[in-house]
């Protein structure tokens, strides 16, 4: 009954695997994990998140604890964003960069307590990131702990998220600001409630022990049903984040791409002091970026996909990194890199779809922004 990937290795399962099976989810391999791509229909799950709420199992993601008197100094050295500005229980989005500026992974960092930080990384990069962080920790007085296997994580996303979650916790959710977190009990389960998400909607990400996450999942689905809550899989997660123009590692970000090219200059703070990759990023900015991340919309019929080439007439000017139908914006959309001269909304380009050049237009990002 164990699924295997192409190499014949067993796929990993989150603590919610049985719940997904019972809900009739279609499971696929993702980053070495056996994960639900959909429970009913990707389009229905996507729309449910935008109009009501969706519940995502993201327990496959990685969590590392960084503690000790050297924690802040270490993290400042490790990432381009300014960790010193984090208040207690505040989080930021940043990257692990190589000396050449290329991205090893993107991640969130939470300031949990004095000298205590939580790093949340992509599921497919857990081993790589841990090795990277450990290798760069020489000389800093810290302890590094991989807590991934002991941690469960569920994302509750959508306009009904707060209404669904509030009765289950004593934490005042309306006072919990975006990119802040609060420890608390959720249905009696010790959790970290984070006002973050990857869908472009309001919502919460709930961290708890791996042993308790199934009970939390089932409780939320039960109380959320009357508010339109549905379980949502990785298929909808991808169309939602694409409409919101969030980067996905191995698509918009990889070791050959720097955060400036990806439009993430707002997370890069060279003024805060030295960090791995600082010199390369400052140089990259000074020279002018050669390529930039853009969004595009198909004008002629057709679905653009990651990997398809982007043309200006006969000349290829770039390629897509992601593409799919956008169920809320009702257009076929994509993200990709093009030569900087073309990275202007309004530019008409063509996408090669199965050998046919199909008209598209570069548009401003994000494709979708929720009404607040």
């Amino acid at each position: 009954m164990t699924a295997h990937d192409a190499a014949g290795t067993s796929l990993k399962r989150t603590p919610l695997y049985e719940q997904h099976r019972q809900l009739g989810a279609r499971l696929v391999e993702f980053g070495g994990w056996d994960m639900p791509v959909q429970y009913s229909s990707i389009l229905d799950e996507h729309r449910a998140v935008r109009t009501h709420a969706g519940l995502f199992d993201v327990s496959h993601m990685g969590e590392f604890g960084v503690t000790g008197p050297g924690a802040l100094a270490f993290l400042q050295h490790l990432v381009p964003n300014d960790v010193a500005r984090l208040a207690l229980n505040q989080a930021l989005y940043t990257q692990l960069c190589q000396p050449d500026g290329g991205v090893v992974d993107d991640l969130l960092i939470y300031h949990l307590a004095e000298n205590s930080y939580l790093l949340v990384v992509n599921a497919g990069n857990i081993a790589k990131d841990f090795a990277w962080i450990e290798a760069h920790s020489q000389g800093f007085e810290i302890q590094l702990a991989n807590q991934s296997d002991e941690t469960g994580l569920i994302a509750l996303q959508g306009p009904q998220a707060l209404t669904i979650l509030q009765p289950l916790t004593g934490v005042d959710l309306s006072a919990l600001a975006y990119y802040h977190a609060s420890p608390g009990l959720v249905n009696g389960i010790n959790s970290l409630i984070s006002r973050t998400g990857y869908t472009g909607e309001d919502g919460f990400e709930l961290y708890c022990s791996a042993g308790e996450v199934a009970a939390l999942w089932e409780k939320l689905l039960g109380v959320g049903k009357e508010h339109g809550l549905v379980p949502a899989g990785l298929g909808a997660r991808d169309t939602l984040r694409l409409e919101a123009a969030y980067c996905l590692y191995e698509h918009e970000l990889n070791e050959q791409t720097n955060p400036l090219e990806a439009g993430l200059a707002w997370t890069v703070k060279p003024g805060k002091g030295d960090f791995i990759g600082r010199e390369a990023l400052v140089e990259s900015k000074a020279q002018g970026l050669k390529r930039k991340l853009i969004g595009l919309e198909m004008v002629e019929r057709g679905v653009c996909r990651g990997g398809y080439a982007i043309y200006d007439g006969e000349r290829q000017i770039g390629a897509l990194t992601s593409g799919a139908p956008g169920p809320t914006v009702n257009k076929n959309i994509g993200l990709g890199y093009v030569e900087t001269a073309y990275a202007t909304p309004g530019k008409n380009v063509q996408v090669d779809i199965r050998g046919r050049r199909t008209a598209a237009q570069i548009v401003a990002l994000p494709f979708y922004k929720r009404q607040k």
């Binding site: 279609r26 791509v37 229909s41 990707i42 298929g235 169309t239 019929r301 679905v303 799919a324 139908p325």
Partner: protein, 130 residues
């Protein structure tokens, strides 16, 4: 397979198309199993103009949210008409794969190929074995 519908009066292929025969004409589409596997269909490319199609060769492309797939012709012949409604409403294939989701009507050029088509029992057995 439970929950899926494969009408008795149609013929089938191992690439999950169905055929409704009517003299020397055939209507072609994809089966309930195929649309269920694909998930939400968002795009289809068919031979919109009169042109030949060939037995076991690609006649079009179909796309779901996550993936693209080829459509394989069960028979050789020439396209009489294509379901242009599917250009704007490809989801009809999910909702009604045998009626509103029909794809092509062709004039059959090689009746010997009809022997290659599967009965509903053979198609169901084939599905069980997958």
């Amino acid at each position: 397979m439970a929950g899926l519908n494969h009408p008795e009066n149609l013929k089938y292929t191992r690439s999950d198309e169905w055929v409704r025969l009517n003299g020397d004409e055939a209507t072609i589409g994809i089966t309930d199993y195929a649309q269920d596997q694909l998930g939400d269909i968002v795009y289809i490319e068919l031979p919109w103009d009169a042109q030949p199609v060939a037995h076991e060769e690609k006649f079009g492309d179909i796309e779901s949210v996550k993936a693209t797939s080829e459509l394989i012709s069960p028979l050789s012949g020439s396209v009489l008409k294509a379901n242009v409604t599917l250009k704007e409403n490809p989801e009809l294939i999910n909702d009604s794969p045998y009626d509103e989701g029909w794809m092509l009507v062709i004039k059959i050029s090689n009746p010997a190929e009809l022997d290659d088509l599967l009965s509903v029992e053979d198609y169901k057995a084939y599905l069980e074995g997958r």
